[in-house]
């Protein structure tokens, strides 16, 4: 009487175990395949990240042709103003291109034509000393915890009068937008009382990198001509440091070219990161040329059949006076990239 139930239990067990094994094997096969796919996609993802760096590098070249240059030279800048609230902000100067549009001298130089950095015995390059010919810079990319001048994305409510002479009118008594940093806004009595430190906190942002955005991609620029640059686009963990620089000291500062501490002072770790990195080399040329103002130079819809010197403002866009307007047609006031060339082989300097 006891044999048959045990046999049935055994059969059920075999069935359940078999089906479970089947399901497990299916799941494992599926997961293994998906993991394999995901691992193979990492290469594609890194390649994409490296390519994004080409756009970032070109944007830097374009904007730095005219913007962002301090009057003080590198290494002589005032400490971050967040630590010195009383320090005056370092003025930015407008420049006129990697090749100055006024006289063709190497730039960038300031509005009065003087050097951004005057020639001195320790700075023989003069006006190109910020980015001298035959020098390179490293640009590790990450997202800051809070960028400069960050504002809150949520709207700030302002009450609307429900009665009285102002009925229906919004009382714009709460500043909108609000800064992401504190300005000691009191919504109760509608006041803001920022301190000097609050202002600099807002102005400077929080420069700390967001951890999850680090060690993903970087680019390097090597100025090989007045307006030509070798762009190295990388995706990986080297932060743009070069393997061949591990034991090389900077001729100016005497410090190692590679910050060993970032890699645990371990050459093998750095070499492993280097080996698994994707790098592309490009060469690009900057041009001072912006888009031609040809479309807006004629008002051909006045209904008068003659020519006019009427010129629409560059950002007025479409000339349909009686109809819609659109955004400006991309007059890029920081120049254009004339051409981009992927280099077939790794250049000596980058």
């Amino acid at each position: 009487m006891f044999h048959q139930p045990r046999t049935r239990h055994g059969a059920v067990l075999i069935l359940v175990a078999g089906i479970a094994a089947l399901l497990i094997s299916i799941s494992l096969a599926f997961l293994t395949r998906m993991r394999s796919d995901a691992e193979e996609t990492v290469v594609t993802m890194r390649e994409t990240q490296a390519r994004l760096m080409l756009s970032a590098a070109c944007n830097y070249i374009l904007e730095a042709s005219r913007l962002g240059w301090e009057t003080t030279p590198p290494g002589e800048q005032t400490p971050p103003v967040a630590t010195r609230p009383d320090a005056p902000p370092s003025p930015h100067q407008e420049a006129f291109g990697w090749i100055d549009v006024r006289d063709g001298r190497i730039g960038p130089r300031l509005s009065q034509g003087e050097d951004v950095l005057p020639v001195s015995p320790d700075r023989p390059q003069g006006d190109s000393a910020r980015f001298p010919l035959f020098t390179g810079f490293r640009f590790p990319m990450y997202v800051r915890e809070r960028p400069p001048y960050a504002i809150r994305l949520d709207a700030v409510y302002n009450p609307i009068a429900a009665s009285g002479p102002d009925e229906g009118l919004p009382w714009l008594i709460n500043p909108d937008p609000q800064p992401q940093a504190s300005n000691r806004w009191n919504g109760g009595n509608h006041t803001v009382n920022p301190t000097v430190n609050d202002w600099y906190d807002y102005k400077n942002g929080d420069p700390r990198p967001r951890i999850r955005t680090m060690n993903r991609a970087w680019f390097r620029l090597w100025r090989d001509g007045p307006a030509t640059f070798v762009v190295t686009c990388g995706a990986g963990g080297t932060l743009g440091y070069r393997l061949k620089d591990w034991n090389v000291n900077d001729p100016v500062t005497g410090l190692p070219m590679v910050d060993h501490a970032l890699f645990g002072n371990d050459y093998e770790t750095f070499r492993d990161l280097d080996a698994h990195e994707i790098r592309f080399w490009y060469r690009v040329e900057w041009s001072a040329a912006v888009l031609a103002l040809d479309y807006h130079n004629l008002d051909h819809e006045l209904g008068i059949d003659r020519d006019h010197y009427m010129s629409w403002p560059p950002n007025a866009s479409h000339t349909w006076r009686h109809s819609r307007r659109t955004q400006m047609h991309a007059k890029n006031m920081v120049g254009t990239i004339s051409w981009v060339q992927r280099l077939v082989t790794e250049p000596t300097n980058w």
């Binding site: 796919d37 390649e47 070109c58 004339s338 077939v344």
Partner: protein
């Protein structure tokens, strides 16, 4: 007792018909369930494999697209015999130099430098150090507001700049022949009144370089190449010696200002005859790079007739803007698309992935548009991923390609070495010194 038990034990060892039927039924159910389970498992694994294969194929297609983005090998592949499909040039006597496709060597396109005129303003040929904003040679000196048939109401700009050195002749007013005709406008307008025009003969024209460059580029290259080589703010207009039917009275060639059909340089946006830049020329229409069929026939020289047709298609514009129609969009897609399989050889049950690329300029922007299309022969499903990319431009692609007609070290039938040009950037004085290979853009080969 044993005799009574034996039959009983014997019966216990067998099966009744009912037991057999039940056991059979249960067996069928169990086997069927197991079979179904294994079948599902098998299908699951098969589908997982198929999806994985599709993913792998799409990744391969994406990688191929990135390579294509940077190396333009669908248009010109220096690694493959007969891969240089867009290098032909044609030099009719009526033009200054040759006109050619987008990978024609620059030395064969622009007139070679002439010693007697190779001066600051008289220089000609391609110079990659020129076209700088501060260089007065590169400034346009015409009148952008001039339109329709000019009556010289804004002056005669050919006295300031001309493509012809020392031989510029002006319209003297002696000819009464109509010069062009006003384009159709709504409402119709009367032709402009042409006042008597004084004779400017004897005027020394001071500027030539800009107009010579424009003339050579406009006549000898395609619009796509023109727009990639000249600065973004270039006005595609110049002046030259007056010719009845060839220029307006101001000496401006009609080809650079007169709206025409799709074989013309100017599109019909606005119906106006005026100087234009890149935006105006690509606002209503698109400049593209039609690949067409290989022009250089295997084992034979270029066929000028075929090339002439291909050259037209290189220069033509495509209606893709506000005046476009489904037919014109189809025309653009069909003529300008290059489609290649991601894998040349693959098992028949594998998904088929093709990569299409269109390169064109629209609204002054250079665009490389890719379409990755996957079709499954198993399920019949088709899906497509479209994306654009930012990579090597045409000029960069030309600088990638080795070209030296005098190099016979590894020459092909045409007497030149194939392959890619090497480039390096050692600091001056650093050894070994960099000796960049000559490329399609090397000006004076």
């Amino acid at each position: 007792m044993p005799s009574h038990r034996q039959p009983f034990q014997y019966r216990r060892g067998g099966f009744t018909l009912l037991e057999v039927l039940i056991a059979t039924a249960m067996g069928v159910v169990i086997i069927g369930t197991a079979f179904a389970a294994f079948r599902v498992a098998s299908q699951t694994v098969t589908i997982a494999n198929r999806l994985s294969l599709e993913n792998a194929m799409m990744r391969a297609g994406f990688s191929k697209a990135q390579e294509e983005l940077d190396f333009w090998q669908s248009y010109d592949d220096p690694d493959v015999t007969q891969g240089e499909k867009l290098r032909a040039t044609l030099a009719p006597a009526s033009l200054q130099g040759a006109h050619g496709l987008i990978f024609a060597p620059m030395a064969t396109l622009l007139p070679p430098p002439a010693a007697s005129t190779d001066t600051f303003e008289g220089a000609q040929g391609w110079d990659d150090r020129a076209w700088l904003a501060h260089d007065s040679r590169s400034w346009y000196r015409g009148n952008m507001a001039e339109k329709y048939d000019t009556a010289l109401i804004f002056g005669r700009y050919a006295i300031f700049a001309s493509a012809d050195v020392g031989t510029t002749a002006f319209y003297s007013g002696a000819s009464t022949a109509a010069v062009g005709s006003p384009p159709a406008v709504n409402p119709p307008v009367a032709p402009p009144v042409v006042p008597p025009i004084p004779d400017y003969s004897g005027v020394a024209v001071p500027h030539h370089w800009h107009d010579r460059q424009l003339s050579a580029f406009l006549r000898n290259t395609s619009p796509y190449m023109l727009s990639e080589y000249l600065p973004a703010n270039t006005i595609y207009c110049f002046a030259e010696t007056f010719s009845n039917g060839g220029t307006d009275r101001g000496g401006i060639p009609l080809m650079s200002i007169q709206p025409g059909d799709e074989n013309s340089f100017c599109n019909q946006d606005g119906g106006q005859k005026n100087a234009r830049g890149k935006y105006r020329q690509t606002y209503r229409t698109t400049w593209s790079v039609p690949p067409n069929d290989p022009q250089v026939q295997p084992g034979g020289p270029a066929d000028p007739t075929i090339f002439s047709e291909r050259w037209k298609s290189q220069r033509r514009y495509f209606e893709t803007g506000y005046a476009s129609t489904p037919e014109s969009i189809n025309d653009f897609v069909q003529v300008t698309t290059i489609t290649t399989p991601v894998l040349d050889v693959a098992p028949t049950h594998w998904p088929r992935v093709t990569l299409s690329v269109n390169r064109f300029i629209k609204n002054a922007r250079s665009i490389a548009l890719f379409r990755l299309r996957l079709s499954s022969p198993v399920t019949g499903s088709v899906y497509e991923v479209c994306f654009t990319g930012f990579g090597t431009t045409l000029r960069g692609a030309r600088q990638q390609r080795y070209y030296d007609p005098s190099d016979a070290s590894s020459a092909d039938a045409a007497g030149r070495r194939r392959g890619w040009a090497s480039w390096d950037d050692p600091i001056p004085g650093q050894t070994p010194a960099a000796i960049p290979d000559p490329t399609l853009d090397t000006p004076r080969l």
